[in-house]
Amino acid sequence: MADFIFRALLAGLMVALIAGPLGCFVVWRRMSYFGDTLAHSALLGVALGLLTDISLELTVIIACLGLAFLLVFLENRRELSTDTLLGILAHSALALGLVLISFTDSQVNLVAYLFGDLLTVSAENLWWIAGTLAVVTLMVIMNWNRLLTITLHEELAQVEGLDVVRVRLLLMVLIALIVAVSMKVVGVLLITSLLIIPPSCARFFARTPESMAIIASLVGSAAVCMGLSASWLWDTPTGPSIVLSASLLFIASRLLKNSAPG
């Protein structure tokens, strides 16, 4: 098998595996707009990288983390609803990104950032993805029960002595990190679907939070394999093919659930 396909598969599977559990929290806590906003700011990160000659991976992560912290700060002021704040931040970040990109001399292939460019993943990209996701995975495993506790009832958790603000911030940082590294896989416009669709499939079959997370990982991985195969066989764009595969799996699991007894 060609090297580039192998690298693409590896990067896609790594992202899908950890997008499963994190995506569950996005679904449970209704944070999908937050995911979108992060994705928009990822493009700002690209612009910053191009302008400053710092590694793109790093500036994208910085932009996503910066946005997450800014959101927490603004939320605490309680002047506007989170929904409105996200709308302001998402589009400001996107617009700023696009304006900044126009200042760079380089010929920027915007489509690659918007829809992903999995087939051009380099060995260096792979290390970035692997390193970041290793940290994210470790944090998710270590904090799994705490994350579940604040998701069920934040104030109950707080009265019981949990540092709710810290756990919530941790979750936002972890989502920011996965969004930052997934840009290469499915692109800015499609990242959220990778977080949302696999857990939605998993919900039909899961009886525990853990099984939902694991099934979501498996569904995401299957979508990556299917999308890459389609891209290989029919020369379709990789990112959209992966997302479309996930959508098909969603429809299939819905039908399967309907036909199953109970």
Partner: protein, 251 residues
């Protein structure tokens, strides 16, 4: 007043966005004492409970908690996302400080052992309240704070729930702060009633409070008569905005 207190709050006021929610409230909860907060909607009952819990910062006044106070909290409602599959057992195991065996014991105590492997979002209102109570018990609380525990529970269930709470107080020797807007069943179990409408309208033993004109004013004569357990006297009434109007007829 030398009994060891659990909560001693003096002169608590709360202002949110220029709106006065609570005005000069004092609240004292002793060991094994059941204190009930009653009052109409918007009287600030939940806000006061949240201040006791440390979830809301009061604007002025002083709240003293006993050192290392263990609190069990039963929130008004638990909204479980239908997208989240979680069993009763898992929900209880997630309680911070939950120890092994504690979950079974707490479930048995609220007569909910049979619910253990049920999914949380399949529970009825009454079942969910009992599971929430079990979660509060896992903390081995010295103080139980129950915010409208009987909400969404039918009348028979309510009587049973209040009996359960009294039993728990006797068994665990804990203090209880109960928030409620219905008086019918609360009263018999209560040691002290605080009738709240942004300030303390009246307080005392249930029988004293239920004859109080301010209490009658607050809840309407008809309602109050059907209850007629709680007798006390007030020196003022409230207009529609909840502001204090000095009452010339009574005191």
């Amino acid at each position: 007043m030398n009994t060891p207190f659990l909560i001693n709050a003096q002169g608590i006021s709360l202002q949110l966005q220029q709106k006065q929610i609570l005005h000069n409230i004092s609240l004292h909860i002793n060991e094994q004492q059941i204190v009930t907060l009653i009052g109409p909607n918007g009287a600030g009952k939940t806000s006061l409970a949240r201040i006791v819990l440390g979830l809301t910062r009061h604007s002025s006044g002083k709240v003293e908690r006993r050192k290392g106070l263990r609190v069990g909290y039963m929130p008004q409602r638990l909204h479980v996302e239908p997208t989240m599959p979680v069993s009763v057992e898992k929900f209880l195991t997630l309680a911070v400080n939950a120890r092994k065996g504690e979950v079974d014991r707490a479930l048995a105590e609220v007569n909910a052992t049979a619910l253990k492997s049920n999914q949380l979002h399949d529970l009825s209102g009454g079942e969910l309240q009992r599971v929430l109570l079990a979660r509060a018990l896992i903390q081995d609380p010295q103080l139980l704070v129950l915010d409208e525990p009987a909400q969404g529970v039918d009348v028979n269930g309510q009587a049973e729930l209040y009996r359960l709470i009294t039993n728990i107080r006797d068994r665990h020797k804990c203090g209880v702060l109960l928030v409620s807007h219905d008086l019918h069943l609360v009263m018999s179990a209560t040691d002290e009633v605080i009738c709240l409408n942004q300030h303390v309208c009246c307080h005392g033993h249930p029988e004293t409070v239920s004859n109080d004109p301010a209490y009658l004013e607050l809840f309407g004569k008809k309602d109050a008569e059907t209850l007629a357990v709680y007798t006390h006297h007030h020196n003022h009434s409230h207009d529609l905005a909840g502001d204090v109007v000095k009452d010339h007829s009574d005191c």
